[in-house]
Symmetry: C2
Subunit: 132 residues, 2 copies
């Protein structure tokens, strides 16, 4: 359950995301890595697929972007649901885990006999600094 050693491309992509202050789109990542030899979107997407699989990166569906996990040490996949608050001004993301919400949603899904596999909880709005 530990994260495998990252390949060169995976490391490059992960570094870019780690240093970024906000989520990045795949194409933005591509641009930032052109100097390192990246030429095509697929190089980014393939690295992202693995990083997502390892749980060290999250995909933000509502803004088609990617962000490094806030707790790289622990394995995010073991946390159950993850929620994100995304600031539409500065782009910053706050990651959040809550067992209450988790249980409540899971109970409901169970009552519907729905077998959950992936979840997306994203709140867009304005963070403390940006909410003028």
């Amino acid at each position: 359950m530990t994260t495998p050693t990252l390949t060169k491309n995976q490391s490059l992509v992960f570094d870019v995301l780690t240093k970024a202050e906000a989520p990045l789109s795949a194409y933005t990542i591509l641009d930032k890595l052109r100097d390192h030899g990246f030429r095509a979107p697929l190089q980014v997407y393939r690295a992202l697929d693995k990083l997502l699989e390892y749980g060290v990166v999250h995909r933000l569906e509502s803004i088609n972007s990617f962000v490094a996990c806030a707790h790289p040490d622990e394995n995010c996949h073991s946390h159950g649901l993850v929620a994100f608050a995304i600031c539409e001004s500065c782009g910053q993301v706050i990651e959040f885990h809550d067992h209450e919400v988790d249980h409540r949603l899971m109970d409901w899904l169970k009552s519907q006999k729905f077998k959950a596999e992936k979840s997306t909880i994203e709140i867009r709005g304005h963070c403390a600094s940006c909410a003028a």
Copy 2:
């Protein structure tokens, strides 16, 4: 706060969504409406924008698709958060409102001084019928 009369294009798009058994992408809607004179994506997107604004249609961010609201009578915007369970086999969507989850998330956002504006809660997996 009542829904205005729909224009021709808005009605056409809304009808297609209402009759569909699963969420549709904007381009799928476009194809279904070519016989009614639709020729360009914008005709669909513009209608969708309004329908979303009126709260009679939801956008599913995780699958880039749109679905008619499950409670066309009430105004969905007044329900607070909405959650969706999306079956990856048959495409069917179950819409869900829960005040518990709502409050819990809102409390957390408040504690972060985050001003929420739009929310997305989507669970992908397999529905009762499809979970073999």
